[in-house]
């Protein structure tokens, strides 16, 4: 039964010591205005918390905002997601990411990286398509 008549659900969160959340608030508003349901958590989430949130809320996409240099926390998050059975969960990262490190994020399994000034429609469309890809909430062995 296809339930894509229901709005996409996106987790918008920030991990680590970076307290700037203006970017994630703005994107949360874009997504809401595009008809999506955004679970907005604000800053300073730990990796374990992000995994728990993603499971409890059964979100379609995880959006990580990163404006300082702690975007390298993301590969650790990707590992934690696999461990929790969420290896097919799409993750996008937005913020200030030096060119060299973008590849690291993609290698870790991030679906999309958005840089500052990324086009609003682009963000909305990309997240929308990822939301429709569907994901398993349990690993095959679970």
């Amino acid at each position: 039964m296809d339930d894509r008549s229901s709005p996409p659900k996106v987790l918008m969160t920030k991990i680590g010591l970076d307290g700037h959340d203006r970017g994630s608030r703005i994107v949360a508003t874009y997504l809401r205005d595009a008809g999506m349901e955004v679970v907005y958590t604000g800053p300073w989430q730990e990796i374990d918390s992000v995994v728990t949130l993603a499971i409890e809320e059964d979100v379609d996409v995880i959006g990580i905002s990163s404006l300082a240099t702690d975007h390298l926390v993301v590969p650790r998050l990707m590992k934690a997601l696999v461990k929790a059975g969420l290896d097919t969960m799409p993750v996008v990262v937005g913020g200030i990411i030096p060119d060299g490190e973008e590849a690291v994020l993609y290698d870790a399994g991030v679906a999309k990286v958005f840089h500052p000034g990324a086009d609003r429609d682009q963000i909305v469309n990309d997240i929308g398509s990822l939301a429709n890809s569907g994901h398993s909430i349990l690993a095959p062995s679970q």
Partner: protein, 318 residues
């Protein structure tokens, strides 16, 4: 396609009843989206529904509802209870989207495996939300939580109706805006099993408590005398008293017709029936109904009789 990676087979249901979180989360999604899989789950768990205590929290924006719920959950955890929370936020009437921000205030519970929090958008259909919220409560109940808290913004009559999913309804207000009693309209007082005056560290808290007490206890004594409790959610003050009051209310109305899934269902049916009849009467162009309205307008028929007649007609109409 979306979300078809899992199926509600017997193994799934067994894991759900054992309280497995991922399974519960996906089951809630099916139920929220009213899919066939959701209906299957609900059918399979019906006999396991009924042991949880369901508490509703509602109140106007700015009353500190989420902070109070978080403090209440903390108190419950200290009393060794497991807790499920359904946090409802309004969907945008323009875009249909929503920002679900109640979790910001519930951060202390995220990594507690004895607490499960789910954010739900109203999706513009408040009547439908009551039904969905009731079913989400049922599945959390079946998966084993001792207490389930439903939290909604009360900004109008319909929002307060969502609180009716609960067996014990806590209505929150804040002190000292002078006219704030205006905000506490008749319907709210009727719904409240427990009134909370939050931000009780503010001036005029005691005044607000007395005003509410007199409004609540006007008229004949009822089966349950709604207490007015002062809390300061940010410090936790008064939250122990609130938890005790919820327990007392539960004991007082421990009766299948007042509490539990049968009572929830009755309230839902009452609410949906009233919606349906209201729409039929309001939108009908039926001759008999028109005549009733004209008689009343001419002063030939009184309202009470007119309503009786309209209900009979409304009940029979397609």
């Amino acid at each position: 396609m979306a979300r078809s990676a899992h199926k509600p087979d017997d193994a799934w249901i067994e894991r759900l009843l054992k309280g497995e979180r991922s399974v519960l989360a996906r089951s809630i999604t099916w139920i929220e989206n009213q899919t066939a899989d959701g209906a299957t789950v609900l059918g399979a768990i019906q006999k396991n529904v009924g042991s949880a205590v369901v508490v509703g929290f509602t109140g106007p924006p700015g009353a500190g509802k989420s902070t109070l719920v978080s403090a209440y959950v903390r108190e419950l955890r200290s009393r060794d209870k497991t807790v499920g929370v359904v946090a409802v936020d309004p969907s945008s009437p323009f875009s249909g989207g929503a920002i679900l921000g109640d979790r910001i205030r519930m951060g202390e519970h995220t990594n507690d495996s004895g607490v499960f929090v789910r954010s739900v958008a109203s999706r513009g259909h408040l009547g439908g939300l009551s039904l969905t919220a009731a079913r989400i409560v049922d599945v959390m109940d079946a998966s084993g939580f001792d207490v389930i808290v439903v939290e909604t913004v009360g900004a109008g009559q319909s929002e307060y109706e969502v609180a009716e999913v609960a067996d014990t309804k806590v209505v929150i207000s804040t002190p000292g805006y002078g006219d704030d009693i205006q905000a506490v309209k008749a319907g709210i007082l009727e719904i409240a099993d427990i009134m909370v005056v939050n931000k009780a560290d503010m001036p005029q808290a005691d005044q607000t408590v007395s005003q509410l007490n007199s409004m609540l206890h006007m008229g004949p004594a009822k089966e349950w005398a709604t207490p007015v409790i002062k809390t300061t959610a940010t410090t936790g003050e008064g939250v122990g008293e609130l938890a005790d009051a919820v327990d007392e209310h539960g004991a007082a109305v421990h009766d299948a017709h007042k509490a539990g899934p049968v009572a929830r269902t009755r309230r839902l049916i009452a609410s949906m029936a009233s919606d349906r009849i209201r729409k039929r009467i309001a939108q009908s162009s039926d001759d008999a109904l028109n005549q009733i309205c004209e008689s009343v307008a001419r002063g030939e028929l009184d309202f009470d009789t007119a309503v009786d007649q309209a209900i009979k007609l409304g009940g029979d109409m397609e």
